[in-house]
């Protein structure tokens, strides 16, 4: 099997998997990085949301061969280290609002929230209700109002 190399949470990793193995399974089944969750496998539920070079990506839809050796993948496990702290401000906001219920979608929600705040900041504006309405991550426990509140609070601290 071919070797593939990319950066994962600050470290270079090399895996021996088929070219078309989706990144989600490289992370979960090969590398044992289980923060990104499976919820649909077709880039719909967004439970696996992670970052590719700081932007939201869904590993269930990315063949590993598409990654360059310099590409940086950040999963929830590596988020706090991007700000050199124990917790990222968005994770703190999540704790303050006690957002999680079952917790299954939460890594994806937080990664999506951080990417949203970064994108909005690049556009030089504040988070709007429309931005929050546009988040596609499913929470089957329905903790959506707390997610909205946490994103606003987390954004203020980012």
């Amino acid at each position: 099997m071919p070797e593939h190399t990319f950066r994962l949470n600050g470290e270079q990793v090399t895996v021996d998997v088929d070219d078309d193995e989706r990144l989600l399974w490289v992370l979960r089944d090969v590398l044992g990085v289980t923060g990104p969750k499976y919820g649909c496998g077709i880039n719909v539920c967004k439970a696996c949301t992670s970052h590719l070079n700081g932007r939201a990506v869904n590993p269930c839809a990315v063949p590993v061969k598409d990654l360059a050796p310099t590409d940086e993948i950040t999963t929830i496990e590596g988020l706090a280290a991007t700000v050199g702290a124990d917790l990222h401000p968005m994770q703190r906001a999540w704790l303050d609002q006690d957002v999680a219920q079952c917790g299954y979608c939460q890594p994806g929600q937080i990664m999506a929230a951080v990417a949203l705040v970064r994108r909005v900041a690049e556009e030089g504006r504040e988070i709007t209700e429309a931005d929050l309405d546009g988040i596609r991550n499913i929470c089957r426990c329905g903790t959506y109002p707390r997610i909205r509140a946490a994103i606003r609070a987390g954004a203020a601290d980012m």
Binding site: A56, L87, P107, C141
Partner: protein, 796 residues
């Protein structure tokens, strides 16, 4: 039982008469004095009884036997209980010395641990249980570790997570065990400090003596232990002294959840338990005929095993990605399933035929309505999954299970193993909504592991979970309310549904066996229906009857079971009768409520939501009420049904009417953790919005069309009310009521009532968008969609 599977109903007019609730738990010696135990152990292990005593057990056995012989007399083949659990198993289990006890352990590092015999699936019971222990013992909540107990067959039906019953049933036993621990720690400290117990304080995990001398509970643990098991009588804290219970607390697993450290079944690393998926039939419960290319698929990269099982063709591979490809490559000829050729329309016809007559119309004025509730999915975000390691003579299972004892006993029977040879670990669940009452994935995983001789980590694809997973049955409800002048004379409701599988019983195999018998099951669902429904209004003579038909579907309880549909139909007709009498929907309800708690909840939302305020055309308020689980919930919502809102663009989703403001008031008696309660009410609200407006399964030609979260429209952010307020009402009873499912019924009903008032047309089919298919159905062969390859095009 007639040949079409419909059951004979039992009328229980009145509806409010309920059998006395069997009390279980520690023996009470006074109002707050109970008996607990200290178990023989090197460090302190305090215990209390959870399971009821022996007579209840005997009753369970005899009722199973009675139902069994009744079934035989009617000429229906009955299951032999001994096929599943023989007398020796039962006797061994009953004789276990610690039978029925739950234990609080104090460790030398000053932490306290407790294995909760329930499933945590997001409802927050590990947090509320840690709070109860912390309160009673005098230790910080963060020093209490609550884990989930393995299946414990000796607990019989006391290891079922359902009916919003966890806090109701464990509130006292957990506290008694904690109080015993506290007493023993204080006694040990008294000896150490040479001071009477009365002069000591146990606070924040430290005992402080008269001279200010302090000893931590970790240091006291061994000294407080017992050489042989002893009984202890303890007095529980008075609620006026509570400093933890009743105050908002964040979840104990929140840090793990936000850092990705929380471990769900599929995150566990069990050696050699490789990813496994099943190629499933194109119609509900179809069976494998033949497989044309077994060897070819076995040779695919990464694939280790391909075996035919009872539900399809299982594939075990290095990764789930390789499993998806192998499942898609299999060429299988399928035999018909249990719903061949059926569609929404044919099931609706079956339901009409099975409806119990509502009787001749009364001579007085009356209103009447008929409502249809389509199939809905109780899929959680975590799909059905389980790990199984079956070896000769033993098996080990890991799964999130709300009825782990039934799972253990059923798996043991299937594998031909004694119950004691099957270990069932209950893992943290990624949501349930009723789905985890059953153990479909655990059964499959055990079968695959046995057939391959290897451990497996089995997962259902989302498409499987949606199409072959359990559903909330399609139902119809017919309501008639008779009135004269300003008085309601009578209320009748005839609820007819596709059969709800309650085969998890009350969590224990003997009762589950009763539920599997055709006669026993019918009676069981009737009993369940009657026990779960009540009439909160002064509506004169009232009767509610359930009839069920068609057992060809994979069904189960969905959060709040029958109540959302039954309550929604009732509340819509309450609005209608109020209109006929020229009364305001809120004032009408308030005046006819039987109970002060319900009235207070209704008044709370009316005030918070400013009931009756002027609103633009196309928008309206709706208000509804539901009582269950010894609790009360009232909901007021405002909805926007104007075209510009309904037709707002949403990619691959349903916009539809938007609930813009929502107020939900809840009285559960004592709210152990108000913040957790708020979370549950919020989630219930989102469920109710989905049930009325967007979420359903479409049955066509023997299969459900929905195969993705972009087909099945559970509430999304664009459907979420921008303004939500949860009002936790003051404790009115001093005892906790149920909460996990409580809020769905009134939420669904309030949204329906608001929709009716905003559009001027009472909705009669749910969800209201069911008639419009808002997606392109995915193929059924292969059963799962290809994994996408365009992820990098959508990076944002």
């Amino acid at each position: 039982m007639s040949s079409d599977g419909t059951a004979t109903p039992r009328d229980t007019a009145g509806g409010l008469h309920r059998p006395a609730r069997p009390e279980s738990g520690p023996p009470a010696l006074g109002r707050r004095r109970f008996l607990g135990y200290v178990l023989a152990a090197p460090t302190l292990v305090a215990a209390a009884e959870l399971a009821p005593a022996a007579p209840a057990r005997a009753a369970g056995t005899s009722s199973a036997g009675a139902a069994s012989s009744a079934g035989a007399a009617a000429g229906i083949p009955s299951l032999e209980i001994t096929d599943l659990l023989d007398l020796n198993d039962a006797m061994t289990i009953a004789a276990l010395p610690t039978s029925g006890l739950i234990t609080v352990e104090v460790h030398t590092d000053g932490t306290v641990s407790f294995a909760l015999p329930r499933a945590e699936v997001g409802q927050g019971i590990t947090t509320s249980t840690a709070m109860l222990i912390a309160e009673e013992m005098g230790v910080p909540v963060d020093r209490v570790r609550v884990t989930l107990a393995d299946a414990r067959p000796e607990l019989l039906f006391n290891q079922l997570t359902g009916g919003s019953n966890t806090t109701i049933s464990t509130y006292t036993p957990v506290r008694v065990a904690a109080a015993v621990a506290r007493l023993r720690l204080l006694r040990a400290a008294a000896a150490e400090l040479d001071a009477p117990v009365g002069d000591l304080r146990l606070d924040a995990g430290v005992v402080t003596g008269p001279a200010g001398r302090r000893i931590g509970i970790g240091e006291l643990s061994a000294k407080a232990a017992a050489l042989r098991t002893e009984a202890e009588s303890v007095e529980l804290k008075a609620s006026e002294e509570f400093t933890v219970v009743g105050r908002p607390h964040n979840r104990v697993d929140a840090l793990d959840a936000v850092t990705g450290r929380k471990r769900f079944t599929m995150d566990l690393q069990v050696p050699n338990a490789l990813p496994t998926m099943v190629c499933r039939p194109p119609t509900i419960n179809g069976k494998v005929g033949s497989v044309a290319n077994l060897d070819e698929v076995r040779a695919m990269p990464g694939v280790t095993d391909v075996v035919v099982i009872s539900t399809g063709v299982a594939v075990r591979a290095r990764t789930f990605g390789r499993c998806v490809d192998a499942v898609r490559a299999l060429r299988v000829t399928w035999k018909p399933g249990t719903a061949e050729g059926k569609s929404d329309a044919t099931v609706l016809k079956e339901l009409r035929a099975a409806e119990i007559p509502i009787g001749l119309p009364p001579l007085t004025p009356h209103v009447e309505g008929e409502f249809t509730f389509h199939f809905r999915s109780n899929s959680a975000l975590e799909p059905n999954c389980a790990i199984a390691d079956v070896r000769p003579g033993r098996a080990e299972i890991w799964a999130s299970l709300k009825s782990p004892i039934v799972a253990q006993e059923t798996i043991a029977a299937r594998l031909g193993l004694p119950v004691g040879a099957v270990t069932v670990h209950v893992t943290e669940g990624g949501g349930s909504f009723g789905r985890k009452l059953f153990f479909d994935a655990a059964l499959e995983a055990a079968e695959v592991s046995r057939k391959t001789g290897k451990p497996v980590k089995l997962m259902w694809h989302r498409a499987d979970d949606s199409r072959q997973g359990r559903t909330h049955p399609m139902a119809r409800s017919r309501v008639r309310i008779a009135y004269a002048g300003n008085t309601v004379l009578g209320y009748r409701q005839r609820h007819t549904g596709v059969a709800t599988d309650l085969g998890h019983g009350l969590g224990e195999l003997l009762t589950a066996t009763v539920a599997q018998l055709p006669v026993g099951d019918a009676a069981f669902s009737q009993v369940f229906f009657q026990l779960s429904q009540s009439m909160p209004y002064e509506f004169g003579v009232n009767s509610r009857l359930l009839n069920e038909t068609d057992k060809g579907f994979n069904t189960g309880s969905m959060r709040n079971v029958f109540s959302p549909d039954v309550t929604c139909a009732r509340e819509l007709m309450v609005d209608r009768v109020a209109a006929k009498m020229g009364k305001d929907p809120y004032a009408f309800r308030r005046d006819l409520l039987r109970d002060d708690r319900a009235r207070a909840a209704l008044e709370a939302v009316a005030e918070a939501g400013n009931w009756g305020r002027a609103m633009p055309a196309g928008t309206a308020q709706g208000i509804a009420l539901h009582t269950e689980y010894r609790s009360v919930n009232a909901v007021l919502v405002e909805i926007d049904c104007r075209p510009e809102t309904v037709n707002r663009p949403v990619r691959d989703g349903v916009a539809g009417p938007r609930v813009t403001r929502a107020f939900t008031a809840v009285d559960v008696g004592l709210a152990v953790n108000p913040r957790g309660l708020e979370a549950q009410m919020m989630g219930c609200l989102m469920d109710g919005i989905a049930l009325t407006l967007t979420s359903s399964l479409h049955l066509r030609d023997g299969h459900f069309l929905e195969a993705s979260w972009d087909n099945y429209f559970y509430t999304r952010q664009w459907n979420t009310p921008p303004e939500v307020e949860v009002i936790v009402l003051p404790d009115t009873t001093g005892k906790p009521g149920g909460a996990g499912e409580l809020g769905v019924a009134a939420s669904m009903a309030a949204v329906a009532c608001a929709y009716g008032r905003a559009t001027g047309t009472m909705p009669t089919t749910f969800p209201v968008n069911h008639g419009t298919l808002s997606f392109e159905p995915k193929p059924t062969v292969p059963p799962v969609p290809a994994s996408p390859t365009d992820g990098l095009d959508h990076v944002r």
